[in-house]
Amino acid sequence: MLDAFGQPQSAVVLGGTSDLAGAVVRALAHRRLRTVVLAGRDEERLRSAASSAAAAGAEHVRTVRFDALDVNDAARAVDECFDVAGPVDLLLLAVGVLSHREDELDPSRTAEVVTATYSWPVVALTRAAARMSEQGYGRIVVLSSLVAVRVPRHNFVYGSAKAGLDAFSIGLGDSLLGTGVIVQVVRLGRAPTKMTEGLPDAPMSTTPDAVADAVIAGLGSRAQVVWVPAAARWALALARFVPQSLWRRIPG
């Protein structure tokens, strides 16, 4: 069960091999987390994520495999995670594929980015919401991005997919009012991870540990949107007023 601070004893992580998810799982395991199901694509990386979760204190660690490009498999993957975990206190969604400038005019690459970052997560979250409604409680945390708030020129495909996922998650949360299930969207600055390797430094960047701290504080607050870093909230509020003619000239 979740405690009064929203700290879970059991969690399912979709995208369990991501560096950010790993940092969150370790921080949770230092607190109340005992059972965790890590779901991802790469078996080897799942194994290593599982052993680091166990080293952080999780007693029951299981892994489930899925491919984020196979949308028709998403509901099955979520069901398998829930069946393995028992009652799920927290579902963390950390699935997505970043686009690079050179990909953005390649239709097949664009399809991959959108499928893994938007379509698969949407189907998975829909199923997870139904499972949690049945439980009568639960917390869903969706890792979103600052680029979802205003899509930048340099990775607009990924940004648009995150914008869609962000909007979907907020809507899903609203639709779950009264069910005991709460959805939280965590909008992140860029963190130095595998996903962002080789990219230049971005403004309002963050670190996996800062993300973990923010997620944990957010669980306690029940806020619908959590910003990392916190100041990004105000920076992005201002960014909305930047005229598009200027916005598109911002180098990325």
Partner: protein
């Protein structure tokens, strides 16, 4: 409570961690037995007036038996005994009994709890050091379990009786109980008040003098450094100043002639109600410290035999309905622990820790407990107990309370489950070493394991 798809959102008095369950309001024990026999692994648990601070009276995805319709009481008989249905509130009971001169043998800080809830939490009052907990005054009770309706007492299935007294509703649903009431002459109290500049001196005074009074409680100021600076400047220790009030029921001859009315009168209805929408952050460090300051200054340094209305003495917060809304949407929690008599140092350490962490806390309640009851999950143990309310948003609170838990467990103390919403299961076993006795009774009366709550799941009691 909000309507949801096929159920209601329920939370504890602390208003955190709401979960959804199907709420049923059976009219009698038969109805409860039907619900118990229909229940499955999703669980079923009783709920009274929802005054448990945490998740004791909720059952996510399962069934919650609201005992509101299970109300009613007999008249108090000549020996002082009364048969009360479990959904009856202590408020209803005293309105009926007090005009005839019968008061509650034990009362918590509010009358807005049901008799069933008072038994399930084995509630205590300001007289625990003399009279023990609520269950000590229960002659017998009827419990609906998945294996049938049972009438139990100390002599008849004492094992189930004591597993239920303080058992957090995990043995079944109490439907009715026979209580032994306390005879009183008047609705007034004779109260001695003393003010202390620090925790050491109030604890010394309590150890020395509590046994001369039926009721005794101290309110301790845990607000930290804001005022400590000013106090230090005046050469006084800052943290843990306290007001100690002790007393007993006034007899008719104790009252001035004009106050000698014929019969004790029942309490007034609450005059104030906190509105549904309270702006965020009304209760913050500054406002809480200011309140604590005002309250301390209002108390006399020393006053003897003051005549006070009984209801204000026992239930000061019952004058304000829905006061838990003051903490806003984020909610709050109450942390209450008990430690053995020789471990007053843990009380000191806890107060110091909270004030060092700058965690805002309303007046904490300090009290001495007398002998414990035989219930394996009953909270009171001989020694000290400290209870404090804290807003949930306070920074570092979770980690701070985790550290206190360890301190309390190491001193062979425990935290009060009726207040709990955050204890770790591994620490629970250290605090309540007789959990196996509770499990064996539960296996006997509930072999299917259907009686469970969010609390029992969180603490790994199932």
């Amino acid at each position: 409570m909000r309507e949801g798809s096929g159920g209601q959102l329920l939370s504890g008095w602390g208003r955190a961690g709401a979960t959804r369950a199907v709420v049923q309001t059976p009219r009698d024990a038969e109805g409860i037995l039907d619900l118990l026999s229909e229940a499955d692994g999703r669980g079923i648990v009783a709920r009274g007036l929802g005054r448990s601070y945490g998740d004791a009276a909720q059952c996510a995805g399962g069934t919650v038996v609201d005992t509101v319709r299970l109300a009613g009481t007999s008249a108090v008989d000549a020996s002082g005994e009364v048969e009360v249905r479990a959904g009856t509130s202590l408020d209803t009971l005293v309105r009926r009994s007090v005009p005839d001169g019968w008061f509650l043998p034990v009362t918590p800080g509010t009358r807005q709890v049901t008799v069933g809830g008072a038994i399930a939490s084995d509630v205590h009052g300001k007289n625990h050091h003399v009279d023990g907990g609520f269950s000590r005054h229960v002659a017998a009770m009827t419990i609906a379990t998945p294996t049938g309706l049972r009438r139990v007492s100390r002599a008849e299935d004492g094992e189930l009786f004591w597993a239920t007294a303080g058992g957090m509703g995990l043995t079944g649903v109490v439907t009715s109980a026979r209580l032994r009431m306390l005879e009183v002459d008047t609705d007034r109290m004779l109260v001695d008040t003393d003010r202390f500049v620090d925790l050491d001196s109030v604890m010394a005074a309590m150890e020395e003098g509590d046994d001369r009074y039926r009721y005794s409680v101290a309110w301790v100021d845990c607000s930290g450094p804001i005022r400590a600076k000013a106090s230090r400047a005046r050469g006084r220790p800052g943290v843990g100043r306290a007001v100690l009030t002790r007393g007993d029921h006034a007899r008719v001859r104790d009252l001035p002639p004009r106050r000698r009315r014929s019969a004790p009168s029942p309490p007034d209805r609450p005059r104030l109600r906190v509105p549904r929408c309270v702006p965020r952050g009304i209760l913050n460090r500054a406002s809480i410290a200011a309140f604590n300051e005002a309250w301390y200054r209002r108390a006399p340094r020393h006053r003897e035999a003051e005549v006070q209305p009984m209801w204000r003495f026992f239930h000061p917060l019952d004058g304000v309905a829905e006061w838990n809304r003051l903490y806003g949407r984020a909610g709050f929690l109450q942390y209450q622990f008990a430690v053995p008599p020789s471990r007053g140092d843990v009380v000191m350490a806890a107060v110091r820790e909270l004030s060092a962490q700058r965690i805002p806390s309303f007046l904490a309640v300090l009290k001495r407990f007398g002998p414990s009851s035989p219930g394996p999950l009953s909270f009171p143990i001989p020694g000290w107990t400290l209870a404090l309310d804290v807003p949930l948003g306070a920074e570092g609170l979770s980690a701070c309370l985790d550290r206190l838990d360890v301190m309390v467990a190491e001193s062979k103390g425990r935290v009060y489950l009726a207040k709990d919403s955050r204890l770790r299961p591994d620490v629970l076993a250290a605090m309540y070493p007789r959990l196996a006795e509770l499990s064996s009774v539960r296996r006997r009366v509930d072999p299917g394991g259907v009686v469970r709550s969010d609390l029992s799941r969180r603490l790994g009691l199932d």
